[in-house]
Amino acid sequence: MKYILLMSGSKAGVEGYQAWPPKDIEAHMSVLRKISDALTASGEFVATQALSGPAEAKVVRGEKNRVPVTDGVFPESKEFLLGYWIVDVASPERAYAIAGRISAAAGPGGVPTNVPIEVRRFATRESKSK
């Protein structure tokens, strides 16, 4: 069964991350790469993707004279999706375990970030990904 693991954060949180010492960012990225490698080796990896920062986000609601109505001004505290992992696992517990590993990735000074990771099952039986 397929699950998506969603990592979210606010504009302030993203700016805080960008201000980490480079070696802490490298250590963090290295843990995430190892998790992806392990998931690839176990055959559970489907996809992972980082999104651009909240500053580039727009919300579109309907059209006016066939022109999409866009809005791009959001409160600083609004949470945005930062990135996700799609995994194909045997049980929900396995999806939670992977989310736990991502959440425990080291932050500044090697301390786990413990960022919350939202875990959601795909509604589709078969992925429509091409």
Partner: protein
């Protein structure tokens, strides 16, 4: 350039299955026809629907690295309901597609005017973070 179009729903707003059957069928037919059109134009990368918020879990790593799951959320919390990843020539084309999704038919075939969040997808982490 790749964009992700995100459709959100509130936990309290997951009454879609309670729509009259013909309205639900018209909504699904609209989405399928839009996906077919995007696929034929070579713009569709993937499209997925997620399970309803009652199955969502938030996972944080505990001190011992084991997952701590939480699944109780306020009715007003917004959840990702589904997403499209598209590969288009311009942001304006991404907004145009988002507006089409936004205006998908709901009960009584009235356009829903759902807010659709549009974000550029990063093909790789920025160099300074590696």
């Amino acid at each position: 350039m790749k964009y992700i179009l995100m459709m959100n729903t509130m936990k309290a707003g997951t009454g879609v299955p309670a729509w009259p059957k013909k309205d639900l069928q018209a909504h699904i037919a609209f989405m399928m026809s839009l996906n077919k059109e995007l696929h034929e134009r070579g713009e569709l990368v993937s499209a997925e629907g997620l399970s309803f918020p009652d199955q969502a879990k938030l996972v944080r790593a505990g001190k011992d690295g084991r997952p701590i799951t939480d699944g109780i959320f306020p009715e007003s919390k917004e959840f990702l309901a589904g997403f499209w990843i598209i590969d288009v020539d311009s942001p304006d084309r991404a907004y145009e597609i988002a507006a089409q999704i936004s205006a998908a038919p709901g009960p009584g075939s009235a356009p829903l005017y759902m807010p659709i969040e549009v974000r550029p997808v990063m093909s790789a982490p920025p160099q300074e973070m590696l």
